[in-house]
Symmetry: none
């Protein structure tokens, strides 16, 4: 049997999201409700454990069956993996911004005027980055959307706990990074050297001459944050013995899934925002299952974006788009051979606009579940569900229904 | 107060076990239901944690209150303890088979034709097994039922992570064992030496000459698997300060309980199969409590055997035999001074025929529980029970109702 694992980022909410309801309650979700009523079992899931406010990265690790307290090292490595960098255990990665430094050497704009053209040229120029003191350390930079990018240092003795060179502040010079444990001093030293070199390379770059002439802010520095050593995450294929694909658009989610050994598959029109064509993700997902993958992970991001923007109407609309996608899925899944699970990765209330610890509704549908009486899928109804309240691990729970995971012990 | 702890192996199932019901739902269990309704509280238990497929050994460790992720080393030590070998922290143990090797030195039968006579003579002959290279290492072999047995090497510096000499394959020579960590190379070396010596001893043994004349396969080798260093499991008496007995028939369960410090007590007619006289286990159990033990663990195996055999009717019948035993227990327990708990150690669905992660129903009955409204004991009803959903630890939960366990902290 197979597993289709669907996460709607920031799906869950609080009662004051919209007229005394959560957005999930306010949204019309006949397809999801019908799936739960006809084939499903529901419950309330603490993404990590009760009382822990999950990040999206730590939440996904926990949902996949890893203990983020054991393996989480930081966000940089997931961002780097998410934009397509191939990583291994000797890598230390950072999220970066192109930024603007003024003539006094102070940070003028952390996003280089949200630069939207020419970043490929800058990436090309930065390909010559290298440490002179530690030439054995490999240095890689890759741009992403707008001002975003990732930096990766490769060396067997590099620690990943260092302070950022991005101070999240303007009008001050780029701070020096410092190692926060004894293995990370060398990494900080290299990051500081690379940061200076990048300024030299970018300051003289023709693109920035052009930008200045056009009255735009030059992208004359890179700021780094989110340092992370490649984590000890056993790939899904080794941990569970099953091949997996991820269909997502946001770099962070692609990255967590790639680090967990899932193969990234693109879907046309998938944007990682509220306007994403998520139906195409569902189509690619079912194709992947048909082609032989044992597990496919679909990630829908829009509900979280709308929550961070305090936009209840956009969140309701996106949830209704998810519901339409479930309508298509229900008709097209091979229900004799598949278990599907669906949940939020955390609660993001409209008014607070950030992740909170409140548990999220979760469902598993398919032939092996002990179906319960639930007919509505939301934050309230699911507390009466047959799965009760549980912490994380929704992927192995679903895979066990599909008889896909190995025994622990004999 | 006292604790009677009863586990029915593989008790729980899935909705498609038998005509849209689990076997536990299909079985008539008026006594268990009445016990729950009159004195009990129910719940759903994840034997280890949600999404983990338990082995029987890891599940029992978890039910007893140990963390199998901390202490589990492998099955061999429980098999050896279960057939009566006395063990200590310097032991590395293996499950063994008597096997047949052909004239080319290849494995012809992994069970020596399921040898059923004369194994005592072979055990006696193997008592001279010894390592010449490491004479300080003590070597013990003990036969069990049919072709089964255990091998135990005793030495303070022996690691327990090594590859098996039983390849689970025919037509090939016995593979050499190899250490899987740096402390286990020596153990592998000794195992390989012992395996060769055993072949020499057994090949010349008169019993095998006789077997060959009778057209039977000779038991001319031993194959070893399930290597395990003695685990760091604090005995129940030290952990909880209470003496305990185990009444069981399967070697694995006796072994886990003995390693946890429980004293093994035999019951007449107890076989570890569906035809076991489990009422006699209940009688021995109550005698043990009367004689002064604080905890008695009864293990009923048959429901799991029937599940592995995909035999729903046999499972239903065995569950109904358990129910009769509860009828006797209910009349004979001193209910003013005893808490009884009852659960499966894992779910074994009829169609899949192996353990899965689905949670199991559990109940505790006795004077101190906060009785709930449950009147039926099964995988569905118990989700509405007063214990909610919880992970393992059913023994200390029950012992706490009996005011038997120490405080953690002050």
């Amino acid at each position: 049997m197979k597993t289709l694992f669907i996460i709607a980022d920031g799906l869950a909410g609080r009662p004051n999201d919209l007229d005394g309801k959560t957005c999930l309650q306010a949204a019309k979700t006949p397809e999801i409700d019908d799936l739960l009523a006809s084939r499903g079992i529901g419950g309330l899931m603490d993404p990590i454990k009760p009382g822990v406010r999950p990040g999206s990265d730590t939440a996904h690790l926990s949902l996949f069956g890893y203990d983020p307290y054991q393996c989480y090292t930081g966000r940089g490595v997931f961002e780097a993996a998410g934009i397509g960098m191939d990583l291994s255990k000797d890598d230390v990665c950072f999220r970066t911004n192109f930024a603007t430094i003024d003539n006094q050497g102070n940070i003028k704009d952390r996003r280089a005027g949200r630069i939207s053209e020419g970043q490929d040229q800058l990436e090309e120029a930065l390909s010559e980055l290298k440490s002179e003191k530690y030439p054995e350390v490999n240095v890689r930079f890759k741009r992403s959307t707008e001002h975003r990018g990732a930096l990766c240092l490769t060396g067997s003795d590099l620690g990943g706990n260092l302070t950022p060179t991005d101070p999240h502040e303007l009008g001050i010079p780029i701070p020096n990074s410092e190692g926060e444990d004894k293995g990370s001093g060398k990494t900080a030293e290299i990051l500081n050297e690379i940061t200076k070199k990048a300024r030299d390379i970018l300051s003289d770059h023709p693109l920035n001459e052009k930008r200045k002439k056009e009255g735009k802010l030059p992208a004359n520095a890179i700021l780094s944050r989110g340092s992370a050593k490649y984590p000890e995450v056993e790939p899904v294929e080794e941990k569970y013995g099953v091949d997996a694909s991820v269909v997502a658009a946001g770099a962070l989610y692609i990255g967590v899934a790639r680090v967990a050994g899932m193969e990234f598959k693109e879907a046309e029109g998938a944007t990682g925002t509220v306007d994403s064509k998520i139906i195409n993700k569902a189509k690619v997902g079912l194709e992947e299952l048909e082609k032989g993958k044992g597990v496919v992970f679909l990630h829908f991001k829009g509900a979280d974006n709308a929550s961070h923007d305090h936009d209840a109407e956009a969140k309701v609309k996106f949830i209704e788009k998810i519901d339409e996608t479930f309508g298509w899925l229900k008709e097209n899944i091979n229900w004799e051979e598949t278990h599907l699970s669906f949940a939020g990765d955390h609660t993001t209330p409209i008014h607070y606009g950030d992740h909170v610890a409140d548990p999220v509704p979760a469902l598993v549908a398919g032939p092996s579940v002990r179906k319960d009486q639930l007919e509505v899928f939301d934050e309230y109804s699911c507390r009466e569900g047959g799965m009760g309240r549980f912490s994380g691990n929704l992927l192995p729970i679903t895979m066990s229904y599909s008889n896909q995971i190995p025994k622990f012990g004999a």
